[in-house]
């Protein structure tokens, strides 16, 4: 791979519509390489959609998206798949396959760099399996490698999902509410782990979060979305909690007026 460009993610006038609803409405965003950016906003503000536009899981309606050096908005399917191998994605619902073992789930992360379909452990090479086990070990669940994923707790499942993402060897990590389905204690553990891994691997991170305090704790920059529009874009230094809460509060009144 060539030397990473200084900007990992650029969007210009990004618009995404589903039928008649506009989920993302003209967002400009720039994420520098190595930066940790947190997207804030209430449910339905377009955060998850924005993330999925970045790796092409949702095709964009209008505007430009450039990730790494790839123009996502006009990339062909093969180009998109190649890009996605370099972009990790952590889902709110983990998206593990419950009846497969943790190791098998982690191996899914390597699908982007092997040819052809895989089914079952026997179809993976020993090298891949060693690598997957190493990632499980790194997130502290090597002992559970042979257990079915659905026997694990929510926090453990999200850690397995993180290992699956690491298996890709990503340079950019997109995380969609990674701890929203977890209790506070597990949320803390998973978030710490995520942060540590990202720092160690020098990953660029775009993460959506509900917990303002968590966001203030570790983000380099905070971006607030409301009704699909960007309403806040500040470095985390010197931003006050009250300012961030504005993103939510103003939305409440806005919704209130819309209803009335």
């Amino acid at each position: 791979m060539s030397a990473p460009p200084a900007t990992a993610v650029t969007t210009r006038g990004l618009v995404k519509r589903f039928g008649t609803t506009t989920a993302v409405d003209g967002v400009d965003l720039e994420v520098r390489t190595g930066e940790l950016v947190v997207l804030l906003g209430l449910s339905g503000s377009g955060k998850s959609t924005l993330l999925r536009c970045l790796n092409g899981l949702h095709p964009v309606t209008a505007g430009e998206v450039v990730v790494d050096t790839v123009a996502v908005h006009r990339a062909r399917p093969a180009e998109l798949r190649r890009l996605r191998t370099d972009v990790g994605f952590v889902f709110q619902q983990f998206n593990l396959i419950g009846r497969l073992t943790c190791l098998e789930n982690v191996l899914i992360g390597a699908l982007g760099r092997v040819r052809g379909p895989r089914y079952g452990l026997l179809t993976w090479s020993a090298r891949h399996k060693r690598e997957a086990l190493a990632h499980l070990d790194r997130i502290g669940l090597a002992d559970q490698a042979d257990q079915r994923a659905d026997t694990l707790s929510g926090g453990q499942q999200q850690r397995v999902a993180l290992a699956r993402t690491l298996m890709q060897g990503p340079r950019l990590l997109l995380a969609d509410e990674p701890v929203a389905s977890l209790d506070p204690e597990n949320a803390g553990t998973v978030m710490d782990l995520l942060l540590r891994v990202c720092r160690e691997d020098r990953l660029t991170v775009v993460c959506t979060l509900h917990q303002v305090d968590l966001a203030l704790g570790w983000a380099h920059r905070l971006v607030g979305l409301r009704g699909g529009r960007k309403v806040l874009d500040r470095t985390a230094d010197g931003v006050s909690r009250a300012e961030v809460m504005e993103v939510y509060r103003r939305l409440e009144t806005a919704t209130g007026m819309a209803v009335a």
């Binding site: 998206n95 699908l111 452990l121 086990l133 070990d137 790194r138």
Partner: protein, 537 residues
Amino acid sequence: MNALAPPRVSGPGGTGRPRPRSRPPLSWRRRVLVTLGGVGLFATVASWWYLEFSPAVLLDGTDAVARLVGRMLPPVVDDPGRTVDLVVETLLMALLGTVIATVLSVPLAFLAARNTTPHPVVQAAARGVITFCRAVPDLVFAIVLVRAMGIGVLAGVLALALHSVGMLGKLFADAIEEIDEGPREAVRSTGAGRLAVLVSGVVPQVVPSWIGTFVYRVDINLRISVVLGFVGAGGIGFALQSSLRSLSYDAALGMVLAILAVLAAMEVASVGVRHLLLQPSARHPRRDRAARWIFGAGLLLATGFAFAWLRIDPLTMVTSAPDVVAAAMRLVPPDFGLVGGQLWEAVLQTLAIGVLATAGGIVMSIPLGLLAARTVSPHPVLAWAARGLMLAVRSVPELILAVVFVAAVGLGPVAGVCALGIGSIGFLGKLVADAAEEIDLGPVEAVRAVGGGWWQVLFSAVLPQVMPSLIGSSLYLLDVNIRHSTVLGIVGAGGVGFLLYEAVRTLNFEFAGAIILIVFVIVYVIERLSGWIRAQV
């Protein structure tokens, strides 16, 4: 490579961290599954060898099929008035059979459900009766009843009713066992009596599931009632068989098309009824209530009409009971010795047909079913085409397929295998497609997010999720196919059915009893086995 090297893991000969294994530890369950897979493969190969099934026969058969199709075209309807009469008769037989089965099944279900049965012994007995009704194929009931009460619709209706109890009773009881006990407790706490508790605390919870099962069963019985005439039990099947016997294939096709039209209409109607009755909309509670009333009243009217049209005195249901019992008594004691080796060979052939047809059905259904699933299919048009094909196949009864294949490849088990194998597409293909549409889409998104293509999504996100239901449905298919293969012999497509039919025709009832007993044991064992395996997956 980028920052991959995980810092805490050492290389080979490391710090006693768990080593990667080339395969997961063989748990008992996994070992059982692998063994069963091997057994299945072996059974398929053995059946193939035993039946001397060869693709060459099929290739030769294509000419015969072409000639057959040539003689079928253009289809003619000889006597439109009579054909319409017969179609209506067939439809009413299916309805009446299902209604009678429902009346019989409701009390049986309450006795057979764990949480409403008066005593475990009663429960076991009720479950036994239900299982027996399911394990004796519909046509076997029909053959025996035609002997007992004469040729005609009454025997057909009763045969449908008795066999349907096997499914309705089981599903009704399962629905009762799944209820929420809370409302029942609430009714009991008002001081209501036993029956009142059942009616007010249990029935409201199970009615939606019961209605769904009932509508589904009408659908199935319509398909069965089409072929009951083959053994003289009323409906359009008799006319169909006589036109096949007299080699007037164009008239036969005319009748088949009439039947297919009714079956397709029924399929649409049952989707509509289920939608209207089972997915109540919050916005139109009045419309829903009206729909329920119209459905109930319509069903009552149709039942009355069916009795009148088929000229069945409702009282015969009661008065004919001694005849039925007498017929059953003539079957005992079963006599296994009569044909000796021929009997066991026929039984083996029945099993081989069922196994081979199931294997072929699985091989054809998986790709077709996946193509038909909206979540997997590469293109919506392809999905609709696959769905349409499966629907078309499903609406042709197996016995009619068997007749076609007997004409094409000659008498014998190969025709039976082809008929059941093709017929399996309609059944298993649909189940595969439904399962693939119901999967959690999260893993699909996850595989796409790591850069996986269509094949990788299919193998890494879809198949692992579909696999348990695929195994379950395949075993269920085996179940169904073995049951069907016991009656294929009636049209000369191999298996034990021919002997059974002959035994009843020649009034050799003890021998027929022996065959029925064997069929029952086989079907029961396969059903139990497949139920157990499904629980392991």
